[in-house]
């Protein structure tokens, strides 16, 4: 490179650096996240080789959950040569392929420290560069030293990297506070929220075995027995696996809590029809249609259900006796049209 070229290149880079600096001033100060020091000493360490922080960080958290993998095993699942790195979504996908559920945390520091406190190492995306000149890096948070206000990480080639809290939070904030933990499907993280966990399970459903998913939903119901989304997803799963009666009872429990839940009532109608309760099914389908907004994206599905129940009602007359025990709480009268 000719000297003048080099100089021009350097000046342009300098300008870029200053532009980037201007863009990232004023990180909010986050007060002491935890009162006491915590360190998950048993989290293994895999020093990364060139560009391989994705596989290394992922192997770290998967191994800690008892999956015997090394970064080399994961390269074919997450590394992209053309980008010299790994994408966030692919780390989540690879976690599913190893039989675990990736749970992405809420994008705020409190969520990270709550997960850490509950005993989970946290995989984070850091931007070690600047907003406009990013250097993306994955690392695993394994501890927090309350006295020195430092975050402890497995990072790159460092087994126990110490980063000052403020500095860590800045680099993590430039990664949009993205972080996730992994969990056994039947054992949601202690710090998990019901709806986030259900989203994580639903996203894993196409990859994990059915029996695994069944115990996962059973565990979610045990943990959050009254959560509408837990009841819904669990009932959908039962229905898709031939357990129409369990499924129907799930929707009944949900409708007892939320009588206006049109999607649940629609699905209940389908399950009742599967159990031969056509008359009840038609009644529930019509009630579902009466409680749904005209603009709702699921209105069409409900109209289809009503149509198919009307067709079936013409053929069958008598309902089997078990249908009597499967009637749902109706929606509030004022809201029916």
């Amino acid at each position: 490179m000719a000297p003048t070229n080099g100089l021009r290149w350097a000046c342009r880079s300098l300008a870029l650096v200053f532009l980037a600096l201007a863009g990232c001033a004023g990180a909010p100060r986050f007060e002491a996240p935890l009162d006491s020091t915590i360190e998950l000493r048993d989290v293994p360490f895999f020093p990364q080789t060139d560009y391989q922080c994705g596989p290394a960080a992922l192997a770290t958290i998967l191994s800690y959950e008892g999956v015997p993998v090394t970064p080399d095993d994961l390269t074919a699942a997450v590394y992209i040569e053309g980008l010299r790195g790994s994408l966030q979504a692919e780390l989540l996908a690879a976690t599913r392929r190893h039989g675990l559920v990736p749970y992405t945390l809420e994008r705020r520091p409190e969520a990270l420290f709550a997960a850490l406190e509950s005993g989970k190492p946290v995989l984070v995306l850091q931007n070690l560069g600047f907003d406009r000149f990013p250097v993306w890096h994955y690392a695993v948070v394994v501890g927090y030293d309350a006295e020195r206000e430092t975050v402890l990480l497995r990072s790159g080639t460092e087994h126990r990297r110490k980063e000052r809290l403020g500095r860590f939070l800045k680099s993590w904030r430039r990664g949009d506070y993205w972080a996730f933990v992994t969990a056994d499907p039947a054992n949601p993280p202690k710090s998990a929220k019901a709806d986030r966990w259900i989203r994580a399970l639903a996203d894993a459903e196409r990859v994990l075995p059915r029996t695994t998913m069944s115990s996962a939903y059973a565990a979610a119901r045990a943990r959050w027995p009254d959560d509408p989304l837990v009841l819904y997803a669990s009932a959908v799963h039962d229905g898709a696996n031939g357990r129409w009666e369990d499924s129907a009872r799930g929707y009944l429990a949900l409708l007892a809590i939320e009588p206006r839940h049109a999607a649940a009532r629609n699905n209940l109608a389908n399950m009742l029809a599967e159990g031969g309760c056509i008359e009840s099914a038609l009644r529930e389908a019509k009630l579902a249609l009466a409680t749904i907004d005209a603009s709702s994206p699921i209105r069409e599905a409900i109209e289809d259900t009503v149509a198919s129940m009307e067709r079936l009602a013409g053929e069958n007359a008598e309902e089997p006796p078990h249908c009597a025990a499967l009637s749902a709480v109706p929606p509030p009268a004022a809201e029916r049209s």
Binding site: A89, H137, I298
Partner: protein, 125 residues
Amino acid sequence: MRRRRIGPFVLLLSAMLTAPLQSTAYAGVIGTEQYLATLDRQQALQRIDAVLAREEVRERLVALGVDPEDAIERAAALSDAELLALAENLETLPAGGDLLGLLGVVFVVLLVLELVGVTNIFNKI
């Protein structure tokens, strides 16, 4: 040429992978992923494209140097929402990778300081 020929098989494979999830005697059940998507209007509108997105993502991974067989399995493990995000802007999403890039930044800064005469590191080496 090679990519074109395996395309139909991939579509068939993804159809086979997703089909069992929707197998119920009555097709009117609103699945969890679909229900969750209705809570997010934008995603609901895009939902229909998930199968196409899976193929798109697979092709882009192969173009970026991923083994074609691996790419099929990798695309199959992504959720609908993840597929749509990747199909839209795979190349510009954060790809966590290197600390070598960081060394690059440090080098540039040192070089600039050197060139403008603040430091003399490189003369001493």
